[in-house]
């Protein structure tokens, strides 16, 4: 069944303490060439019928993302992105 992938990311101007904490930890692992880390969420949606991008967008807008601080993008899963 084809799936719709929703990626939710904090808006670029919003502080991301989580990404910042990871970025700050990397030098400890010997990684020194990373300048920024930002963390988001990936959500996979399966429809009972045909995947409906508009519907997914509506779901993302109303529930999955918090439009106050987050952006989202909606796309069909690539064929090679098989379910885990």
């Amino acid at each position: 069944m084809p799936r719709v992938v929703v990626d939710v990311m904090l808006k670029p101007e919003i502080l991301d303490p989580q990404g910042q904490a990871v970025a700050n930890a990397l030098p400890r692992l010997g990684v020194t060439d990373v300048s920024s880390v930002r963390i988001g969420r990936r959500i996979e949606i399966e429809f009972s019928g045909q995947p409906d991008l508009d519907r997914a967008r509506e779901i993302a807008d109303k529930l999955l993302a918090n439009p106050v601080i987050e952006d989202y993008s909606v796309r069909l899963a690539d064929a090679e992105e098989s379910p885990a």
């Binding site: 303490p17 989580q18 910042q20 904490a21 990871v22 700050n24 930890a25 400890r28 692992l29 963390i39």
Partner: protein, 227 residues
């Protein structure tokens, strides 16, 4: 000679002063250890306290395990150094693979703080030897990610080898598998516990004095331990 118990402070540790207070009330000397200093300053045992080390932003304990002090503690733990991880400390011990499994988001998705009944299942560890087998104790639990999970084989092995240290009774506060509140490693020197015994050591501030046993146990263990 007074036992010296180290309490580690990571950036974001919160219950470090409380753990040190509990150590003192039990009659030992509390020694502050700093995340960035690999030296254990000759302590006899270590407590990894509760809190939100490094903000717990990626996964709880995921960044703390890479702190310089953790390398020394991990090496010491493999050689028998007694280590008690409370709450965030338990999460760090799991992330550092000193204990199996992981602590995940509570089943009800909320942070929950309540007085919780536990049953002590194993009194053979360095941290529980003053309790009675099957003793029920009341100590605070407070976490957002305290649901213990592991694969079936690991859970079965923990059961079979008596390594489940404490279980939630009269209600499971977070959906932990098999009501697990705390576990130990094979040698019994490393214990991870989600609830907070250090908050049940004074009649004035705690729901009971039931938590003190973890700290008196380590003293008893150290007295009996070969030098």
């Amino acid at each position: 000679m007074t036992a010296r118990i180290g309490v580690v402070t990571f950036p974001g540790s919160l219950d470090d002063r409380d753990a040190a207070r509990a150590v003192r009330i039990a009659g030992a000397e509390a020694v502050s250890l700093w995340h960035d200093d690999p030296s254990l300053h000759g302590v006899d045992a270590v407590v990894l306290p509760g809190g939100f080390s490094y903000g717990d932003y990626l996964r709880c304990g995921a960044i703390a395990r890479f702190a310089p002090v953790m390398e020394t503690i991990a090496a010491g733990a493999r050689d028998g150094l007694p280590v008690l991880g409370i709450c965030n400390g338990f999460q760090i011990l799991c992330e550092a693979h000193l204990l199996p499994g992981a602590l995940t988001r509570n089943a009800h998705l909320h942070f929950r703080n309540r007085d919780q009944w536990l049953r002590i299942e194993s009194v053979g560890t360095a941290w529980t030897n003053t309790y009675q087998p099957g003793q029920e104790i009341l100590i605070p639990v407070k976490n957002g990610e305290g649901r213990y999970v592991a694969d079936q084989r690991t859970l079965d092995e923990l059961e079979a080898t008596g390594r489940i240290v404490a279980r939630y009774v009269h209600g499971n506060p977070n959906g932990s598998q098999r009501d697990i509140a705390g576990i130990t490693n094979e040698a019994g020197n490393v214990v991870g516990l989600m609830p907070h015994p250090e908050h049940a050591v004074e009649a004035l501030t705690g729901p009971s004095l039931d938590g003190l046993g973890f700290f008196t146990s380590i003293l008893k263990h150290l007295v009996g331990a070969p030098v």
